[in-house]
């Protein structure tokens, strides 16, 4: 399959798939695109918002409520952390604590701490801590553990 990316002054991003027939490979690409474009329903100030999974910086559970943090706002969602992780793991979500998920694509740097924890600095300079148990999970995802 040939992949061509055109850069230019287009009004919006567009993906065009050209094929003789929708074979298995093309169906996989379509499934991937659909997954990526699936939006998360969340709420802020009484309004409903549709959030792209890739926009999540991190998510956390506080008193049984799930909050999603993006670069410019905080939203609440009715989905559990496990559901968010299962549905959107491919956008880089990883569990860093019992009540926290983090998006690895929005991480600026990591720092190994005593007690086997990892300090995570996001690109907006917010800091999170991966607990001892979930630090192993993070290392595994980054290919540091077999």
């Amino acid at each position: 399959m040939k992949i061509r990316v055109e850069h230019g002054e287009f009004p919006e991003n567009e993906i065009v798939l050209r094929c003789k027939e929708l074979d298995e490979e093309m169906m996989e690409v379509l499934a991937l695109l659909r997954e990526r474009s699936a939006k998360i329903i969340c709420f802020k100030d009484g309004e409903t918002h549709f959030l792209l999974p890739g926009d999540i910086l991190y998510a956390e559970a506080v008193d049984g409520r799930i909050f999603i943090y993006t670069s410019d706002a905080v939203y609440e969602t009715h989905q559990s952390l496990s559901a968010l992780l299962n549905k959107h793991e491919e956008v880089g979500l990883v569990r860093i604590g019992k009540a926290q998920l983090c998006n690895l694509y929005h991480v600026a740097r990591l720092k190994s701490l005593p007690n086997s924890r990892i300090e995570i600095t996001l690109k907006n300079n917010e800091r999170l801590i991966a607990s001892r148990h979930y630090a192993q999970n993070l290392k595994e995802m980054l290919g540091l553990l077999e």
Binding site: V91, G92, L104, R109, L110, S112, P114, R132, L142, L144
Partner: protein, 156 residues
């Protein structure tokens, strides 16, 4: 029967204690080297290490190693724990020196100098732990960069 022994409390205690062998070995070597080193710098003394002193030193070093396992196993390292290990190691060294009178025939300065060297040895071991953390931080960031470049959905 064999399976029972493998899972027994003794077997678990034994395997846990063997984790102290690395520290025990290093400290035993340091003890022996510094003890004999005094024989070189003190001109009018003929210093040799007898069997019983060596055994006493070996068990003292085993205790220091066990304390390391108690206070700073690899998954529970913190500054307070490191300080606690150094303090316990110092107490063990001083008590062993006083109890076994290793330096009774040596000049008075040998006892404190030996103790200071042992404390330095522990500090260097803690430094090694922190260097390991620094190395791991580098690996984490290198792999994070690889992960972000390899699978970035915006690039796909």
């Amino acid at each position: 029967m064999k399976k029972d022994f493998v899972n027994s409390g003794f077997a678990r205690l034994y395997t846990w204690m063997t984790k102290a062998k690395y520290t025990m070995g290093i400290f035993f070597a340091l003890y022996v080297v510094f003890y004999l080193f005094f024989g070189i710098i003190i001109k009018d003394m003929n210093v040799s290490l007898n069997f019983f002193t060596a055994v006493q030193m070996l068990f003292t070093c085993l205790l220091i190693g066990i304390m390391q396992q108690i206070f700073i196993p690899l998954d529970k390292i913190s500054l307070i724990r490191c300080a606690a290990w150094i303090a316990s190691g110092t107490v063990i060294t001083v008590l062993a020196e006083l109890m076994f009178r290793w330096f009774s025939l040596f000049p008075a300065w040998c006892f404190p100098v030996f103790t200071v060297f042992m404390i330095l040895g522990m500090l260097f071991m803690v430094l090694a732990v922190y260097l390991e953390l620094h190395r791991e931080t580098k690996s984490l960031n290198r792999n994070l960069e690889k992960f972000q470049n390899k699978q970035n959905p915006e690039i796909i």
